[in-house]
Symmetry: D2
Subunit: 323 residues, 4 copies
Amino acid sequence: MAHKNRIGNLFSLTSFGESHGPAVGGVIDGMPAGVEIDMKKLQREMARRRPGQGGVSSSRNEADEVEILSGIMDGVTLGTPIGFIIRNHDQRPEDYEHLKDVYRPSHADYTYQAKYGIRDHRGGGRASARETTARVVAGALAKQVLEKMGITIVAKSITDVAEVPQGDTIGGVVECIIKGVQPGIGEPVFCKLSAQLAEAMMSIPAAKGFEIGLGFDFVNHLGSEVLDKWMMKDGKISTETNYSGGIQGGISNGNDICFNVTFKPVATLMQTVEGIDSQGNTVTIEPRGRHDQCVVPRAVAVVEAMAAIMVLDNILINRASRL
Amino acid sequence: MAHKNRIGNLFSLTSFGESHGPAVGGVIDGMPAGVEIDMKKLQREMARRRPGQGGVSSSRNEADEVEILSGIMDGVTLGTPIGFIIRNHDQRPEDYEHLKDVYRPSHADYTYQAKYGIRDHRGGGRASARETTARVVAGALAKQVLEKMGITIVAKSITDVAEVPQGDTIGGVVECIIKGVQPGIGEPVFCKLSAQLAEAMMSIPAAKGFEIGLGFDFVNHLGSEVLDKWMMKDGKISTETNYSGGIQGGISNGNDICFNVTFKPVATLMQTVEGIDSQGNTVTIEPRGRHDQCVVPRAVAVVEAMAAIMVLDNILINRASRL
Amino acid sequence: MAHKNRIGNLFSLTSFGESHGPAVGGVIDGMPAGVEIDMKKLQREMARRRPGQGGVSSSRNEADEVEILSGIMDGVTLGTPIGFIIRNHDQRPEDYEHLKDVYRPSHADYTYQAKYGIRDHRGGGRASARETTARVVAGALAKQVLEKMGITIVAKSITDVAEVPQGDTIGGVVECIIKGVQPGIGEPVFCKLSAQLAEAMMSIPAAKGFEIGLGFDFVNHLGSEVLDKWMMKDGKISTETNYSGGIQGGISNGNDICFNVTFKPVATLMQTVEGIDSQGNTVTIEPRGRHDQCVVPRAVAVVEAMAAIMVLDNILINRASRL
Amino acid sequence: MAHKNRIGNLFSLTSFGESHGPAVGGVIDGMPAGVEIDMKKLQREMARRRPGQGGVSSSRNEADEVEILSGIMDGVTLGTPIGFIIRNHDQRPEDYEHLKDVYRPSHADYTYQAKYGIRDHRGGGRASARETTARVVAGALAKQVLEKMGITIVAKSITDVAEVPQGDTIGGVVECIIKGVQPGIGEPVFCKLSAQLAEAMMSIPAAKGFEIGLGFDFVNHLGSEVLDKWMMKDGKISTETNYSGGIQGGISNGNDICFNVTFKPVATLMQTVEGIDSQGNTVTIEPRGRHDQCVVPRAVAVVEAMAAIMVLDNILINRASRL
């Protein structure tokens, strides 16, 4: 369940922040009380999202120090909302002055302007990947709760990264596997766990596709070839194959939950491109600033974070399923 | 925004109903007042969803007569909630007695049981495709509002339907194109229009994948190859290409919104399959009842319906974007 | 949490229906699975809400037969949404033809028209007390769950009903006491249990005031006079007095939850009154139809129903409070 | 609509913060874009909420400097979420060490402990009146939008403040009048504007009662005495009297919206009181720290803030009422 700048129901993140404003941050509401939080682990998750994750990412120096303002006392969660901020230190607004009245191709400049009649043009404003820091904070905390329940979430890039021509960019696919979710999690009909994961993943900047289990490859098979046959395993009902990706009818069946997310190539190129201004004049945009050549290495941490938020939220909601 | 059996925020559908209970139905909340409703058009949409849409669908005879109980007076919407029901006439519970304690492969039998500790085993209960009738009612009404705004939604199957072996099933891909949405619709960050469409589509029974614009094919291109270059068209800013699928940063850019949804083959085969019972014993399930060989022809109407709900909801929400 | 025609979060009611349309009804979402439902008890609750509860109520003959359409199988809840309808049998639209373009004093005629630009003028349409039938259905089901948890809800009128002059009406106060709620229920800050009860009660037609514990009388006391001193009772922490009304900081303390709701006199008099038409002309309205002289006897059942919905919802939400 | 630590739907506040943690703050989501914000006005509203509003309030020195972190650029709202924090400077945790295992009478100590199994005992933690700073920030911004629409909100204490005995406390009643709301605002049934105002007011710390229009006094009148007779005023339909308090059927009628909120005396006395510890032992609590003798002067600003939030939210929601 997403609602404007909030995602999740019982466990939720409401986020805020422009790329070049004073800070980004958010409020995590519904964190269960009594959870010991390892702040070093959280900070390590933040590092995974930072630019510079390999040669293909940008070199912007974002320390991403998370300041927790509430909801945790002596390292233990209070059940009250966790407010947090991450200061934006490395601002260079002058890098963006030339874009004030320009809409870059395949960016959100024009659509924000069309929606709000105003926009923060500096570094993409709210449409910047910097927004995802808040997601990683909430995800890192959710992960720590899930770990105590025996649930692990691991994402990785499954795209062969060919040589990227100088000044160009590429996209990629992130695969995510969630292990240890008990059967029965997820709400059927509109809130299928698969539907919620799709919404969460497609809300990540540059995400353009989502598939679960066999996904788009299902169309290449007959029904008889892709039935997940039941078997007993360690005294529990399980399946021999996992074409369904761990979810049937929107509800977890106890198997690994497996899905892929595809990301388009970053739209900011380190080469001259053509934009348009608000009067309709073509504008030449010279490359400036610092930008990722490929978003996928950084997206891995964000995919895991979003998955953790959705799974924890659904586990909490499921506590109300039976008398 | 989906919440249990509800989808949408300002314009929403809350649905109910088991396949073999007395009726399915729902409440459409937030329909703007003063809209003339063409009930014949609505009934035609219902017919599109019915089984028997070509040789590959089942022959269950569902009249699907929609009874409107509130919210419309003399053919005009009142702004109050529209309650409606569709009676389930053609019930044959005896067809399902043998499945009372059996979990069919790749169905939701086991997961519902794991979640609730109880389930309606007749015809899939709430997990039946019959649940989608309520979606089509809400979608048909949303469409009539959208039409008055100059917005059209057309979906179609884009899978080559090969010969289906007798007793087997196939899946397929539905393409949907939404024309006429003004720039500025959709909420950025978690409620990206693309994310909401993904959630809505992945909530349709048997949906396993979603992609927008170039989607999964983005990974085969360099950034420079898939920039949507701006141009002026009829005095408006538009793009030469539409790799983005009409949405940038989660917000519509005025171009056609184009996405694909993939559906797995129907899991109910007209051949003998193996299930498992609650004690873990393998059970042979003989084919019985009436079932679709391919869900895609019927899914087309449901895809359009869900798209209409999401687009109308976002248009209404957008009215609050500016002072 | 209320949202348009829905109230409640994990346990919620979405209602629909105009007074003189085909039916009123609703969808109860989030009923926990596995609850045995006593339909006779439910029907008895409906009878308590019916007109004719003593001499001061109207004589409209509403059978109020509830038809359950989903979510309950063989008398046990499935965890899926419970759709239900109550047909409007005793419609006399001709009684209201003269009110088509008239706004009655202290009714919702004008405000509905101002909001929607259209309204169902027959019997108050959606603004009729008939709308509360759906509340009583949901409340009756919630009560049955609460009873299994040892929670009882009893409301009663505490107003001395003086002789009502022929053709006039009176209001009154309903007192409600909820026994057996464990300490710790309710969300602090915006979702205080007291705040949610206030919203729920003030949403009942004709409700004009709400107070909890000592309520408005608190202003007549010094702080030292109204402290609820702690004591041990049956090995549990309790209080000697209950000025707080069972809730402190928005969260239940284990004591009886006690609140009052005040209702204004019914605005439909059985005497000539002056209305106004849409052109601003004064219109004389002669008494017609069937109307309550006092809403309080019927409101008792509605107060209990709304209390049951809110308490059950909060108990379910509270399951997520701790790891 | 409140949901955990959030209130409002299209315009909402999500708040966080313990009294003696690093900061309190929140996220204001849904502020319409393009609104010029006067930060000095906002800071003046903060000052009205501060302790020391007359002799009967405490002397805690809270500067309450609001730091806006996002959503406003060059003094104009962007439409994106407004994150903000107010640092807690004047912390004296040592004042509260003796209360670590003690439940004070008529405080939320015990109920928080019962709910979460843990609590921040310093200065009431999240249950402190300090939490209301975030409300005043959101309310101050909402007010600035409402002013541009010609809407004003004025609250005041209407209790005769008698001499308060040394070391004791008193409560009081705050009256609030909202002028300039057009007819048609508010959702009928569960989201009546009156119900939403009730929820918002009853969510303020120490609020124990709410009434609208004639409120509890309605029971002293016959229906014929309290009809709001229609009349024409300046070419518009209006009423001669305003017993209804500006709302009929949950929707504004264009008249002043008038309601009262009652607050209990502050439970922290500057005299010795008896508490209980978690083992059930009686504990003598000596007065310490800094506390309000009467909450009402400070509550005035909070009442206005909450009213502003609810009215703005409903005005935005109402934009979707008609085609």
